[in-house]
């Protein structure tokens, strides 16, 4: 795997960890937050300072970053989560900015707005992936335990929850502390990935991005938040070649989900065989209605296929380069000096043609398969006497 791809995977893992934290708090405990980038900043700076000033091993520094962020989250949660309602959300608006501004102005420790350079690059792809896997397992385990049920109970109906013996505000604070830990670890990993951190990296926009990822993936679905992070991170990264327009596509993707699936990609379901079957059957209905969506599916499958069957001049470039090149082709804005093979252009043009041809072909096949699946479904329904 190339450096570029490894970088994307690392960044993806880092984002996933932060998104899981926000998902627990917003999706499972039901409190919106607009300041979680602040906890990432705390984690990042803690880890950076510990490594550079105190010579702490990076592994311990990451964990410490998580725990310091968790501690701050706990302190902030105590007064703001006592009450039910949007108090924390309003407070978090200011808190995220307050944490950033403290870091920006505390020159002696954080070196202020110029940023904190010279952090060793300890976040390699394996490190990030191992952290992601461990933290994801932990998160799924929490959700499938009495704590997960308690969080959901507090979210769905706090009066009922408190009359089932839950000290609801304590669970809200616990949820915030755990999510602070995840964001702290994520920030620490980000510091080791970038090797340079700056307060502006953890601004309001980052906080909003975290929430939008979670809403995009589906509130109350941990696998949804991972899928959402993957899609949105890839949208940003793949379209880097059309830098000024990529946020347009980012917005477009968000709007599309809002229109097509307002409950988020996964809704409140986790990714398991039952949901996949359900989603497939839903997708069948949706797809049957719109031919355009067939074309979309065809395009997604056709893209890698067109790469495999591309005319000879293009075969010299790697898959990632090819993927990065497709958007600039479609949107007609090729960045000068893009690191692409010079002989790409004629090949790529024909590649797009192939993509379209294949999508049309796949549209037919997909339609046929869906028809068959529908038949099977109907038979089952008839057998069940429905």
């Amino acid at each position: 795997m190339g450096d570029y791809a490894a970088g994307i995977v690392t960044l993806l893992a880092v984002n996933c960890i932060a998104a899981m934290g926000v998902s627990l708090f917003t999706g499972f405990t039901g409190i919106f937050t607009l300041g979680h980038a602040g906890y990432m900043a705390i984690g990042a700076y803690t880890s950076a300072i510990l490594i550079i000033k105190c010579g702490v091993p990076w592994f311990l520094a990451i964990i410490a970053g998580g725990f310091v962020a968790m501690f701050f989250a706990y302190l902030i949660g105590l007064p703001t989560l006592k009450l039910v309602g949007d108090y924390y959300t309003i407070a978090s608006l200011g808190l995220g900015e307050a944490i950033r501004l403290v870091i920006e102005n505390w020159n002696s420790v954080t070196r202020g707005a110029r940023g904190y350079p010279g952090i060793p690059r300890y976040t390699t792809m394996p490190v990030a992936v191992v952290f992601l896997v461990l933290l994801a397992i932990g998160m799924f385990f929490i959700i499938n335990s009495n704590y997960g049920r308690a969080f959901k109970a507090c979210r769905d109906d706090y009066v009922a929850a408190s009359l089932l013996g839950f000290h609801t505000s304590r669970y809200r604070v616990l949820s915030l502390a755990i999510s602070g830990f995840y964001c702290g670890v994520s920030g620490a990993l980000l510091a080791g990935f970038m090797s340079f951190i700056q307060p502006v990296m953890f601004d309001m926009a980052k906080s909003t991005e975290l929430v939008s990822i979670v809403v995009f993936g589906g509130l109350g679905s941990m696998s949804g938040c991972l899928i959402g992070t993957a899609i949105l991170t890839l949208v940003i990264e793949l379209f880097r070649s059309i830098s000024q327009y990529r946020m347009l596509i980012y917005g477009l993707v968000l709007v599309m989900v809002m229109v097509i699936r307002p409950e988020g990609i996964m809704g409140a379901n986790e990714l398991n065989s039952k949901t996949v079957r359900h989603m497939l059957s839903r997708a069948k209905v949706v797809a049957r209605d719109t031919v355009a969506r067939f074309a979309l599916i065809g395009f997604i499958i056709g893209l890698p296929l067109s790469y495999c069957f591309q005319p000879s001049p293009v075969s010299a470039i790697s898959l990632t380069e090819y993927l990065r090149y497709i958007p600039s082709l479609l949107f007609g804005s090729i960045k000068s000096g893009a690191p692409l093979h010079s002989s790409v252009a004629p090949g790529a043009a024909s590649a797009v043609l192939i993509v379209c041809a294949i999508s049309a072909f796949l549209t037919g096949i997909a339609g046929y398969i869906i028809k068959q699946l529908k038949k099977i479904d109907d038979t089952h329904a008839a057998q069940r006497g429905m």
Partner: protein, 255 residues
């Protein structure tokens, strides 16, 4: 028999509105008591006062001789009080089983680290919680719908689910807020049987709010009737039935 729950001159006002006025009654241990009264009489407010959702303005609520005026909801639960709600408060998106498990876990705890790692007591405790919940679902006749999401159940079954959820807290005192609301006569009859049965099997004291008078007459040992926040009569169901004040409250006064 000693009194299980006793209200002594309890008052509750919301701003200028006095919702409960000088309510005093007591329920002996092991009885089924009914709380009746026209709509807006303050019955549910009494429940909210007992369970700590509201604080009393003045007066005392005693549970087994202990003053529980200032206790928070979850502390009242710890004493052994469970309740259902008039306007159902199920976790609608969760499955039927999960609804009961959420409550059943109250008596089966494990540490946070066992939850994160799924080691130690986790698997055993989760199994116990699940088994207990399933048993309760069997009891209320919802076992075959365990995986359905609670919000999609018919109304009558949702009420039964609320009872199962409350029972999983292993209470001594069960407060039922209009368990038969919206049910037809047949459903009410089976609910009657259920309530009588759980009353015996779990050795419960039950206080229930109800508008179905035949239900009150059949299963209650004593009845408290209130109107406009104040008690107007109390006694055996037979006494209440013919009480002039009660008739007045329900039927209006003769000109």
């Amino acid at each position: 028999m000693s009194s299980h729950l006793e209200l002594k001159r309890v008052n509750k006002s919301f701003g200028g509105i006095q919702a409960v006025r000088d309510m005093s009654f007591s329920i002996p241990k092991g009885e089924i008591a009914g709380l009746i009264g026209p709509n807006g009489a303050g019955k549910t407010t009494i429940f909210n006062l007992i369970t700590g959702v509201y604080d009393v303005t003045s007066g005392d609520i005693e549970y087994e001789g202990r003053n529980i005026n200032r206790l928070k909801t979850y502390q009242v639960v710890a004493l052994g009080v469970a309740r259902t709600f008039q306007n159902l408060r199920l976790f609608a998106a969760s499955s039927v089983l999960e609804n009961v498990m959420t409550a059943a876990q109250y008596h089966h705890k494990y540490s946070f680290f066992e939850a994160v790692s799924h080691l130690g007591r986790w698997s055993k405790t989760e199994r116990i919680i699940r088994d207990e919940s399933m048993e309760l679902l069997h009891r209320v006749g919802l076992a075959d719908r365990a995986d359905q999401s609670a919000g999609t159940l018919p109304y009558g079954l949702q009420r039964r689910l609320e009872i199962a959820r409350a029972l999983s807290l292993k209470p001594d005192l069960l407060l039922l807020d209009e368990p038969a609301a919206g049910m037809n006569a047949e459903e009410v009859a089976t609910l009657n049987d259920l309530i009588v049965k759980i009353h015996e099997d779990f050795k419960l004291t039950i206080l229930l709010i109800e508008h179905h008078m035949d239900m009150i007459m059949q299963i209650c040992h004593r009845v408290v009737c209130m109107n406009f926040g104040a008690m107007i009569a109390s006694g055996s169901p037979e006494d209440i039935q013919d009480h002039p004040e009660v008739l007045k409250a329900y039927l209006g006064e003769e000109e």
